[in-house]
């Protein structure tokens, strides 16, 4: 099934998304990877505000290549999400609703997804040129000194994604291969 979703999102609309479904995501997506996550959590520790409104937000784990003149962004595919597992539950509990990356998440993240009615979506790993085609605008909004790891505010149109972990905790990385093996078992 294919869903058209616009950010910011609500728990209610995310309920329809099931592991394995396709999503075309539009609206604002914030980029953050290892260093930005670390800094965001340090901000929270100091009682400071995050660089963007976290409620209903979508965070994309990406460190794009530099844009050439006349382009808004370079290549922009997902990075491995597992490195953000240490930080994600905290952000989910504060209202982050959509995480975009690639690769497995741990149980703490899954629990936080269920607890908060959030989702984990996958962008196609290694398809950075294709993913960049959906980005209409990009602006660094925090920690420019982090270079490719700075927090960017992306305006995306129909970013093609797949639901990996839905709000009930179903995980496509488990169900997808299992289903394939069942169908092909002789």
């Amino acid at each position: 099934m294919e869903h058209i979703i616009k950010t910011p999102v609500t728990t209610e609309e995310l309920k329809a998304l099931k592991a394995g479904d396709s999503v075309l995501l539009s609206g604002i997506v914030y980029t953050a990877r290892d260093q930005a996550h670390k800094q965001m959590c340090e901000c929270l520790d100091r009682g400071e505000a995050l660089p963007f409104d976290i409620e209903g937000s979508a965070i994309y784990y990406v460190g794009p290549t530099p844009e050439k003149e006349g382009m808004v962004i370079g290549s922009a595919g997902p990075t491995t999400s597992g490195r953000m597992d240490a930080y994600s539950p905290r952000l989910l509990d504060l209202g982050n609703k959509v995480m975009i990356g690639k690769g497995k998440r741990n149980d703490a993240v899954k629990d936080a997804i269920i607890r908060n009615g959030a989702v984990y979506l996958a962008a196609i790993g290694g398809a950075g040129a294709l993913m960049a085609s959906s980005v209409k605008n990009a602006e660094v909004i925090a920690w420019p000194e982090l270079g490719c790891e700075a927090v960017r505010r992306l305006e995306v149109e129909n970013l093609p994604l797949t639901v990996v972990i839905d709000s009930t905790g179903q995980d496509l990385y488990e169900t997808g291969p299992a289903e394939y093996l069942k169908k092909t078992a002789r």
Partner: protein, 279 residues
């Protein structure tokens, strides 16, 4: 005696860094196309189609295939009748500097493994030099992404573990990597040597064109067996399920100590990049 200048090397390495990141080698493209043909799981076939589309977009817009433009692994074969006018390693690093800055490639090298920071120009290159005979200098740039590099593994098996031990270790490595290394993957496997040499062998195996078997039929058969068994795991493209978990397995072997059986698995992804020049 042939004289090759540092400037020549610098200019060529720059070109290779950019070329490798914008266009996949023919053999990798062929393997992807063949995998799409052979794939019978619809979701998996769609993904493989999108990977092909990604290559087209990268070529049209002249942007990198993948945003992780990698660590610059550089393999040098230096003939002993070549005289380098200048500093070889410095020239390679200068070429990487130029290529990553002028080619709009991502600077992905932390200046220190623990204190982090960034070197801002993707240097240093990770250079392996071999002295050969003749008057040729061959340089290969292999930009290596870390999503797959992080899934690599090395184990010192016991001789008694034998070939089954190797197979089990490889399958275990691929299974636990799952969706992380952007499957379909390409595997370089080193068997034998010492702790350090086996890791080198596994990376060297990634230089071999996909689909070209090991010249020793025993190891060619083992490559085929591993590929078959990996593609029965069901992980599939992106880990969403399907046949195509791995595009190719290449093994490089060498003699080892009577008491040892080192094995290294260097995991690479569908964006297995390399570009070479011979001067």
């Amino acid at each position: 005696m042939k004289i090759i200048t540092a400037d020549q090397i610098r200019a060529n390495v720059k070109k290779l860094c950019i070329e490798a990141n914008l266009k996949l080698p023919e053999d990798v493209v062929r393997a992807l196309t063949a995998a799409k043909e052979a794939e019978d799981w619809p979701v998996a076939k769609d993904i493989l189609g999108l990977l092909e589309e990604n290559l087209k977009v990268a070529a049209e817009k002249e942007i990198p295939i993948c945003q992780d433009t990698g660590a610059a692994c550089v393999f040098v074969e230096l003939g002993n009748d070549v005289h380098i006018d200048g500093d070889l390693e410095q020239a390679i690093n200068d070429g990487v500097h130029d290529g990553y800055i002028e080619g709009y490639l991502r600077k992905s090298i932390a200046a220190d493994p623990l204190r982090r920071g960034n070197t801002e120009d993707n240097t240093p290159a990770f250079i392996t030099t071999h002295i050969t005979t003749g008057d040729k200098l061959k340089i290969t740039v292999l930009p290596k992404g870390c999503g797959s590099e992080n899934m690599s593994a090395l184990r010192m098996l016991k001789p008694a573990d034998g070939v089954q031990g190797v197979v089990d270790f490889v399958l275990e490595t691929v299974s636990s990597a799952g969706s992380n290394p952007c499957p379909p993957t390409v595997l370089g496997i080193g068997i034998g040597g010492t702790f350090d040499k086996v890791a080198y062998l596994s990376k060297k195996a990634l230089l071999r064109p996909l689909g070209e078997p090991n010249p020793d039929p025993y190891y060619a058969e083992l490559e085929a067996r591993l590929l078959k068994e990996i593609n029965e795991l069901g992980i599939g493209p992106q880990g969403f399920g399907g046949r195509t978990t791995c595009l190719s397995v290449a093994i490089e072997q060498m003699p080892t100590h009577v008491a040892g059986l080192p094995v290294a698995v260097n995991v690479s992804c569908h964006v297995t990049r390399r570009a070479s020049v011979e001067l």
